[in-house]
C-alpha cells in the first residue's frame, strides 16, 4: 500500500496548489465586502461593508434576484436538454451501426461549429428568433445554449460512452433488454462519473455565457452575466459591486458541484444491473 510519506507529499502538493487557486477567489469574494476606495488602494485590513450586496440585490435599478432566477431556469433546462441529446446521440453514433461517414461528418461538423465565435452567432440567432417571436423568451435562450454546448457534450459523452464495455451491452441485449432499458440500466450507470462532469461544465458554461444571452434577452429574461456586465460601465468599473455579484453567482454552481455530483452519480448508478 502507499507509504505515509507518499500520502503526505500528495496532500501537500494538492494543498499548495489549492492555496494558489484560492487566493484570487478569496480576493474576489472579500472585494464584495469592501468600499471601492479600499479596493483601489489595496489596503490589507479593512472594515467590511454590506452596501455592495445591498446595492446588487435590492437597489431599484437592479433585478439581480430576477436575473438569478432566469439563469437558473436557463442553466438547468439547457443542461438537462443538452446532456440528454448529447448522451443519446453519442451512444447512438458509437454503438449502433451508423455508416462511418455519418459519424465523422456529424462529429466534425459539431467541432467546426464550436469554433464559431459568439459575436458571429448572436446576430444571426437574434434575427431567427425575432422571426418566430422568441427574441425575449426563455425557450429561445435555452435552445441557443443547448446548441452552443452540444458539440462539446457530444464529443465528451462519446468518450465516456465508449468506455462502457460492449460485452455488457451485448449481454443485456441477449437478455432481451429494449433500448431504453439498456441505456438506463447499463450504459448510464457506467458513464455516470463522466456524465456528471459534463453536466457541471455545461451548466457552468450556460451560467456564464454572455454574448448570446445579451442578444436574446431583455429586462425580464436577462441572465446573471448580463447583470454583472452592467457594472463594467463606460467610465468606471464598479469593482466592488461586480465582485459582490460574482460572489453571489458562484454559489449555485458550487452547490451543484458539491451536492449535485454525488447525487447525479448515485442517482444514475441506482438500478445498475450486475
Amino acid at each position: 500500500m502507499t507509504r505515509l510519506s507518499h500520502r503526505i507529499a500528495r496532500h501537500g502538493a494538492l494543498i499548495a496548489v489549492g492555496a494558489l487557486v484560492l487566493v484570487p477567489v478569496v480576493w474576489v469574494v472579500t472585494a464584495g465586502f469592501r468600499t471601492q476606495i479600499s479596493l483601489l488602494t489595496a489596503e490589507f485590513l479593512f472594515t467590511p461593508v454590506l452596501s455592495n450586496f445591498a446595492e446588487v440585490l435590492f437597489s431599484k435599478t437592479s433585478d439581480f434576484l430576477v436575473n438569478y432566477r432566469n439563469s437558473l431556469i436557463v442553466g438547468l433546462s439547457s443542461t438537462a436538454l443538452c446532456l440528454t441529446l448529447a448522451t443519446l446521440a453519442a451512444w447512438s453514433l458509437h454503438r449502433l451501426r451508423w455508416p462511418r461517414w455519418v459519424v465523422h461528418v456529424f462529429l466534425g461538423w459539431a467541432l467546426i461549429f464550436q469554433m464559431l465565435p459568439p459575436v458571429a452567432l448572436a446576430g444571426a440567432w437574434y434575427t431567427m428568433a425575432r422571426t418566430v417571436g422568441l427574441e425575449n423568451s426563455f425557450l429561445g435562450l435555452i435552445l441557443a445554449h443547448t446548441v452552443l454546448n452540444l458539440p462539446m457534450a457530444l464529443w465528451l459523452m462519446g468518450v465516456f460512452v465508449r468506455e462502457v464495455p460492449i460485452e455488457l451491452e451485448e449481454a443485456a441485449r441477449i437478455d432481451g433488454a429494449s433500448t431504453p432499458v439498456l441505456l438506463r440500466h447499463v450504459v448510464l450507470p457506467l458513464a455516470a462519473p463522466g456524465l456528471a462532469a459534463c453536466a457541471i461544465l455545461t451548466f457552468v458554461f450556460s451560467w456564464n455565457e454572455f454574448a448570446v444571452a445579451l442578444s436574446l434577452t431583455m429586462k425580464q429574461t436577462a441572465t446573471v452575466p448580463v447583470a454583472i456586465a452592467k457594472f463594467a460601465q463606460d467610465f468606471e468599473i464598479r469593482y466592488t459591486q461586480m465582485a459582490a455579484a460574482a460572489a453571489l453567482s458562484i454559489l449555485p454552481a458550487l452547490v451543484l458541484l458539491l451536492i449535485g455530483q454525488r447525487y447525479i452519480v448515485r442517482g444514475l448508478t441506482q438500478g445498475a444491473v450486475k
Binding site: 471601492q36 476606495i37 483601489l40 445579451l214 431583455m218 429586462k219 425580464q220 452592467k230 463594467a232 467610465f235
Partner: protein, 451 residues
C-alpha cells in the same frame, strides 16, 4: 414566460415612483397640457448618470401619465442590442440612446427618423447645447451642420474637463491653468514621483481610449483630424504643424510630469490615480465627478476642482465629445414615434432639466447652469462645463469612424510608448486614415508629410 405575458409586462409600469417628498412636482405647469400617448421603450446603458435619467423618467410618467419602459444594458452590449433592433423589420426600441461612437452609423444607415419629419412643429429649445451640431444631419449631403434636419435631442453632454487638486494648488499658490503652458508649469511644480504625479494621461490602446484623451490637446492647439467635416471636406490634416506640437506636448508632459507607465494607462487607471490621491491633474470625462466626493470611492473628498481643458493662447478650449443623443427609431409604429417625440419635447424643458440636475445628472440645457444650483459647492463642476460645452468638438462624424479610431489608437499608443517618434506616427496615421476615407469614397486628400 410566454409572449403574451411579456407584452403585458412591457406595458406595465416597471419603475416605482418616488415619494412626493422626493421631487416637488407642483412647480411645473406641464401637467395638464400633456396628451396621453402610446407607451414607449427606451434602450439605454447602465452608467453613472443612468440613475438620474431614471428619476427624470419617473417624473415624466408621474406628470403626464405616459408610460416609459427602460431596457438597461451593459455598455459593452448597448450597440449590439441597438443594431439588432434597428436592423430588424420591426424594432424593439422606440427611443435609442446613442453614444458618440455610433450615432453616425445610425444617421447614415437611415435607422433614425428625423424629429421634424415626425412633428414639423418641434423646436429644439434654444438653451439646449447642440454639441458640435451633431443633433443635425443632412441625409442628402451626409453632413452634420445646422442646415440639416433635427435628428436627435441631447441626453447627456459628456466631455472631458480638467480635474485638479484644489488643496495642492492652494498650498502652492497656483491658479487654474488656462493655456497648455500653464498646465505644464503647474504639473511640473506638483510632480513628486512616485508619491504624486503631476498629471496622469491615458496612453493605452483601447476601443476609444488614448485618442479620446488626445482630442483636447489636438484641437486645443488648433489642429484637427479633418479639414471641415461640417462641409463634407475630409482632407486629412492630422499631420499638420499643430498636430505635431500637440503630440510632442502630450508626450513631453507624460515623460516629464506624468506617470511612468502612461502607455498602459486607461480610463480606470486615471480614475484610480485621482481618487487615491496619486495625481494632481487628470483630464477626464465629466461623468466621473460624482466619484470624487463619495467617501466610499475617494480619498480626496472635497479636494478636487474643475476647469475647462486648456488651449493654446488665442484659441479656445476644445474638448472632444463622448456624448449621448436620443433619437427615434424608424422601424416602429407611428404612434410610438409620436409618443417618443413627446418625451423628448418634455425632456429638454427647464423643469425637466432641473430635475435631472438635482438627481445627480448632467443637464443639457444652459438654463440650468445659470441657476443658483451651479453656485453650490457640490455642483462646482457646472460652471466650467457650461463654459466648455459650446466649444465641444465631435471628431469623427461618419459611420466608418469605427475603422479610423483603431488607427489613431495604435498610432498614438506607439508614439507614447516610444516605439516611434511623433513625426513618423502622425504621418503614418494620416496615411492610413486617408486610405480609409478614400476607400469609402469621401471627399478626401492629404497634407504633405511632416519632416
Amino acid at each position: 414566460m410566454t409572449m403574451e405575458r411579456q407584452r403585458r409586462a412591457t406595458r406595465r409600469q416597471t419603475l416605482v415612483g418616488l415619494g412626493a417628498s422626493g421631487l416637488t412636482l407642483a412647480g411645473t405647469t406641464m401637467a395638464a397640457a400633456q396628451a396621453k400617448v402610446a407607451p414607449i421603450t427606451v434602450v439605454i446603458n447602465q452608467s453613472p448618470w443612468f440613475d438620474s435619467f431614471c428619476k427624470t423618467v419617473e417624473l415624466y410618467e408621474k406628470e403626464t401619465g405616459n408610460k416609459v419602459e427602460l431596457d438597461v444594458n451593459p455598455f459593452a452590449g448597448s450597440l449590439e442590442k441597438q443594431r439588432n433592433s434597428v436592423r430588424a423589420k420591426q424594432g424593439q426600441y422606440d427611443l435609442l440612446i446613442m453614444n458618440s461612437g455610433w450615432f453616425a452609423e445610425m444617421y447614415f444607415g437611415g435607422f433614425v427618423e428625423a424629429i421634424t419629419d415626425i412633428d414639423p412643429g418641434f423646436k429644439l429649445d434654444p438653451d439646449v447645447f447642440t454639441l458640435g451640431d451633431t443633433v443635425f444631419f443632412d441625409p442628402a449631403k451626409k453632413t452634420m451642420s445646422r442646415g440639416g434636419k433635427l435628428m436627435s435631442v441631447p441626453i447627456s453632454p459628456l466631455i472631458p474637463v480638467l480635474y485638479y487638486r484644489g488643496d495642492l494648488y492652494k498650498a502652492a499658490g497656483l491658479t487654474a491653468p488656462e493655456t497648455f503652458a500653464d498646465l505644464e508649469a503647474n504639473a511640473r511644480k506638483l510632480h513628486k514621483p512616485p508619491r504624486l504625479y503631476g498629471i496622469v494621461q491615458r496612453g493605452a490602446r483601447g476601443p476609444a481610449t488614448v485618442s479620446f484623451d488626445f482630442y483636447p490637446y489636438l484641437y486645443g492647439f488648433g489642429g484637427a483630424i479633418f479639414k471641415d467635416q461640417a462641409a463634407g471636406d475630409y482632407k486629412v490634416t492630422l499631420n499638420s504643424e499643430q498636430g505635431r506640437t500637440a503630440l510632442d506636448y502630450y508626450i513631453r508632459l507624460a515623460r516629464e510630469a506624468g506617470h511612468p507607465k502612461t502607455a498602459a494607462m486607461d480610463q480606470a487607471d486615471l480614475i484610480q490615480n485621482m481618487v487615491t490621491g496619486k495625481t494632481a491633474h487628470v483630464m477626464m470625462v465629466i461623468a466621473a465627478w460624482s466619484q470624487m466626493d463619495d467617501p466610499t470611492k475617494s480619498a480626496v473628498v472635497d479636494k478636487v476642482e474643475f476647469a475647462p481643458t486648456p488651449h493654446a493662447p488665442g484659441l479656445t478650449t476644445a474638448p472632444g465629445l463622448g456624448h449621448w443623443l436620443g433619437g427615434v427609431a424608424k422601424n416602429v409604429p407611428d404612434d410610438r414615434k409620436r409618443a417618443t417625440v413627446e418625451f423628448l419635447r418634455w425632456y429638454q424643458t427647464k423643469p425637466a432639466q432641473m430635475a435631472t440636475a438635482q438627481a445627480g445628472g448632467i443637464p443639457v440645457s444652459a438654463a440650468i447652469y445659470r441657476e443658483p444650483i451651479a453656485d453650490e459647492r457640490k455642483y462646482r463642476w457646472m460652471k466650467p462645463l457650461a463654459q466648455s460645452l459650446p466649444h465641444a468638438i465631435s471628431a469623427l462624424n461618419f459611420p466608418e469612424a469605427g475603422e479610423v479610431i483603431p488607427i489613431l489608437e495604435l498610432g498614438l499608443n506607439q508614439a507614447i510608448a516610444g516605439e516611434t517618434n511623433s513625426v513618423v506616427a502622425l504621418n503614418s496615421m494620416a496615411d492610413q486614415i486617408h486610405a480609409v476615407m478614400a476607400k469609402y469614397g469621401y471627399n478626401t486628400g492629404k497634407l504633405p508629410n511632416l519632416t
